[in-house]
């Protein structure tokens, strides 16, 4: 089964309070109250959401080596549309139906306008991707986030337990417990159990 078979839900909701979508030692994705949300469905089940509102994304993409810390934390205001795939059960508890007024606050005249923009984002994300549902992604085992960046391309965050991969315009950060890889414009750093390789470009 292909992710191209996705479809968006009919109802646009909004968050009733601050909701933490994902959190671990190195990062957090949090959305504020009144953030619009439309579900991404597959096989009549909610597999994720497209959100639009205010929120923040923090990621400590820093590698600790014997020579000192390398890298900078990522700190993003989530004011543009972004997509999340993963466990929706907890999120559903914090959603209420969005009114025309709520949509207007975010610059939409109606639900369809928001749904169209959400569909564009999904189209951009799923374009040419063949992500097999049961092999690569399970709704209870991980999260995928796609944030639009300044160049209208997508920054991707994939997290599962203590493992995470973040790919943005200028950095790639991979972390798996004691193993960390950071690729930045100036260097590539790999650490594993205290041992480090630093390659200056």
């Amino acid at each position: 089964m292909m992710w191209q078979n996705y479809q968006l839900g009919n109802t646009v909701s909004k968050t009733s309070e601050v909701v933490t979508l994902w959190q671990m030692e190195k990062g957090i994705v949090e959305i504020n109250k009144n953030t619009l949300a439309v579900p991404i469905e597959l096989d009549d089940k909610e597999r994720g959401y497209v959100f639009h509102g205010d929120g923040k994304f923090l990621l400590d993409s820093i590698v600790e080596t014997e020579e000192g810390a390398i890298g900078q934390p990522v700190e993003k205001e989530l004011s543009e549309l972004f997509l999340m795939l993963g466990d929706t059960e907890e999120i559903q508890k914090h959603l209420t139906e969005a009114s025309e007024e709520d949509l207007a606050k975010m610059g939409y005249q109606n639900q369809q306008e928001f749904a169209d923009r959400a569909k564009d984002l999904c189209g951009q994300f799923f374009k040419k991707k063949e992500v097999h549902n049961h092999q690569c992604f399970d709704e209870h085992r991980g999260f995928i986030f796609a944030f639009q960046n300044q160049t209208s391309k997508l920054d991707i965050l994939i997290a599962k337990g203590s493992k995470l991969v973040y790919k943005a315009m200028d950095i790639v950060f991979v972390s798996n417990e004691n193993k960390v890889v950071l690729k930045s414009p100036s260097e590539v750093v790999c650490t594993s159990n205290g041992k480090s390789v630093i390659i200056k470009k």
Binding site: E25, K26, G27, I28, L58, L59, D60, I62, E64, T65, E66, E67, G68, A69, I70, G71, Q72, P73, V74, E75, S186, E187, K195, S196, V197, I198, I199, K200
Partner: protein, 215 residues
């Protein structure tokens, strides 16, 4: 008549003998005195030579001290320090470092080495870095962070004589100079690669100056 002459000659002989003995004793005495005098003179000359040597040798030592040991080396070192913090950091990043089970191996670039004095120094950046290092509490913060990342309350325990707001402002200065980075999620403060280099340089310079001042 002949008898008188003989007696006179005998008396003259005796007198000559007595004079001869006396002269010999005088000669011996004079010889001893002369020998003593010569010995004293030799000792005096030796003393004078020694004094001369000391005076000239001391002067040479003093000159050597001024021109070689103290002046140039301190000057070079301070100049290196002033020019070098930002460049040193840059230099560190110019290397590829491999830390493996058998130790540290540094792989330098194959590009031709650029002499330090050929690289243009960014004075504002150098001043910022030096200014960040120029406070006892900030150096102590770096010292604490050398052993690993720390939360602000852990640093506050170590620097209990300053307030939390003062500590925060010091950390901000260090962050702006790129010597420290703060994790956004956990909030720990970590010393960066340039921070470690700058801290090590500060220690080296301090040790060097202290040693020189003691000499």
């Amino acid at each position: 008549m002949a008898m008188f002459i003989y007696v006179d000659l005998y008396l003259i002989f005796i007198e000559l003998k007595r004079i001869s003995v006396k002269l010999r004793s005088v000669r011996i005495k004079l010889s001893e005195e002369l020998s003593e005098e010569m010995k004293k003179l030799k000792e005096e000359i030796a003393n004078l030579k020694e004094q001369f040597r000391n005076v000239m040798g001391g002067e040479r030592e003093r000159r050597r001290g001024i021109y070689i040991d103290v002046g140039d080396r301190v000057h070079d070192y301070v100049e290196d320090m002033m020019e070098g913090v930002a460049e040193g950091i840059h230099g560190e990043l110019e290397k590829s470092i491999f830390i493996g089970p058998r130790g540290v191996r540094i792989l330098r670039r194959k590009e031709p080495h650029i002499r330090r004095d050929e690289v243009e120094l960014s004075f504002p950046k150098a001043a910022e870095v030096m200014s960040a290092l120029g406070h006892e509490h900030r150096l102590r913060i770096l010292d604490e962070l050398m052993s690993g990342g720390k939360y602000i309350n852990e640093l506050q325990e170590k620097l209990s004589e300053i307030t939390t707001s003062t500590l925060s402002s010091h950390l901000k200065v260090l962050e702006e100079a790129g010597l420290v980075v703060q994790e956004k999620v956990r909030g720990r403060y970590l010393i960066t690669m340039p921070g470690r280099t700058a801290y090590k340089m500060a220690r080296r310079v301090t040790r060097f100056v202290e040693r020189r001042n003691q000499e």
